[in-house]
């Protein structure tokens, strides 16, 4: 078993663009295990926070530190132990199975080992019958399943999900949530953004509540929904407009 890259420590993280602080001095630590839901209204900085943690963009100041990142020997490269699924699935212009194979190839999985892993994730996500179909002719919901399958094939320790069901119908949402639960049961840490309270209740073990680029509270999910510590959290749960 690989060394774990968790916990994730985020320290005084800030990101500004055009003089606006879009992420403003956020600090927290995330442990392996509980599903973390990043919750907040549109424009709170949820997606940005995920991208900063995943290393897709560099912070203006502050640090994102994974355990073992500084141990050159024995420590695995943290970036290679993570995966991300985006709100709009990015499908390479090739077949469903080639989309998964491409990701495996980038992670250095040998050619002989790839097919078995492809078959496994496609059957787990119900996409086996589409294996040879061009990925871009799949429906939006199936494309999102493929994005999840592609991430799953990498067997990441941490999976970031940026509003993965924002454009899906209820059935598609349920299918995606089931896949996320299955990925988590394999030991993958889930860090997911949503603005959907129902989804946060269904999936969340702990809540990071963001507002205007600031971390308002980090609370265990049940107590957040019963007694949020902050007035802003209460207002969000009540469906009030937050400005």
């Amino acid at each position: 078993m690989d060394k774990t890259i968790l916990p994730l420590h985020v320290t005084d993280l800030a990101f500004s663009a055009g003089g606006t602080n879009l992420i403003d001095g956020i600090s927290f630590a995330l442990e392996a295990g509980p599903r973390t839901i990043v919750l907040g209204p549109n424009g709170a900085g949820k997606s940005l926070l995920l991208r900063l943690c995943h290393g897709l963009i560099a912070p203006s100041s502050g640090e994102v530190t994974w355990a073992g990142a500084n141990e050159s020997r024995g420590g695995s490269d943290p970036a290679r132990r993570q995966a991300m699924v985006f709100q709009r699935p990015v499908m390479l212009r090739r077949s469903v199975s080639a989309n998964v194979e491409y990701a495996l190839g980038l992670r250095g999985v040998s050619k002989n080992a790839r097919q078995a892993q492809i078959d496994e994730v496609l059957s787990r996500t119900g996409l086996q019958r589409f294996a040879r179909t061009p990925a871009r002719v799949l429906s939006f919901g199936e494309q999102q399943k493929l994005a999840l399958a592609r991430a799953w094939a990498l067997n990441p320790q941490v999976l970031f999900l940026d509003e993965p069901t924002a454009s899906l119908d209820p059935a598609g949402t349920r299918a995606v949530e089931q896949i996320i639960a299955a990925i988590q049961s394999g030991g993958t840490k889930i860090i997911m953004t949503t603005h959907d309270l129902g989804q946060a209740r269904r999936l969340g073990d702990e809540i990071l509540f963001l507002h205007q680029g600031k971390l308002i509270e980090k609370t265990e999910a049940q107590s957040f929904f019963e007694r949020p510590a902050s007035n802003l959290g209460q207002a969000f749960l009540n469906g009030d407009l937050l400005w």
Binding site: A83, M84, F86, R93, L106
Partner: protein, 231 residues
């Protein structure tokens, strides 16, 4: 009008009868333009993709220059290549002037900016869509380049065809560096120009019809490939 009809009917009989002189000119034209497209593609695709993906000093300059060079006048390209290849020029010792090789060089110079500039546009748009996902999967920009070229293959085919269209239709560059020498460097466009000035409309018209048919055929084939791929 009867002149035109007579020219037209003898043009058709030249084509149908697979006239040897006509076939020689057509084959040489194809050889030169296809070779030029091949070379320009080898240079243009990586150059266009690199300017789309990598951020380096002078990148904007290259982009502007490539876009400007898309409209290069063929006679100017012909003149420059002529000067480079002429006896007194830097590459004069190679003795390439008035050979098919010189014509290939001139056409490649003429069209590589077209292929590079169109490639940059296509790859840049695709990179916009792919960059975060590929970065997340662990692809470096250098690793992303072949991926983008492959995934953009059908759009790039159109860019390459634009280059082929330009190469097969131009007359100025091949006229200057090739010299329109019978059986050596005479291609369809230079032959048409010559035959019209001589008054031999039949051969000119026959060549013109073949040129248009080739252009339609190539474009049609590309369209079919794209549609089949979209399937």
């Amino acid at each position: 009008m009867s002149d035109f009809a007579a020219a037209f009917s003898s043009a058709v009989s030249l084509i149908v009868g697979l006239d040897a002189g006509l076939a020689e000119i057509v084959l040489l034209s194809l050889r030169i333009s296809l070779s030029a497209v091949f070379i320009a593609t080898l240079i243009g695709l990586p150059l266009g993709a690199a300017t789309a993906i990598f951020r380096f000093p002078g990148r904007m300059g290259i982009v502007v220059v490539l876009n400007a060079l898309m409209g290069l006048p063929p006679v100017v390209v012909g003149l420059i290549v002529y000067l480079l290849l002429s006896r007194a020029g830097p590459f004069g010792v190679l003795g390439l002037l008035f050979t098919p090789t010189a014509m290939i060089i001139a056409q490649a110079v003429l069209i590589f900016p077209i292929i590079a500039a169109l490639t940059r546009q296509v790859v840049e748009d695709l990179w916009e869509e792919y960059s975060e996902q590929l970065q997340s999967l662990g692809a470096t920009p250098a690793r992303a380049m072949p991926t983008l070229l492959w995934d953009a293959r059908f759009s790039l085919l159109t860019s390459i065809l634009a280059g082929f269209g330009r190469a097969s239709a131009e007359v100025g560059a091949v006229m200057i560096v090739g010299g329109n020498i019978d059986h050596v460097t005479r291609v369809m466009t230079t032959a048409i120009a010559l035959e019209v000035s001589k008054g031999d409309l039949a051969l000119a018209l026959g060549l013109g019809m073949i040129l248009i048919a080739l252009s339609l055929g190539v474009t049609g084939a590309a369209f079919v490939i794209r549609e089949a791929a979209r399937g």
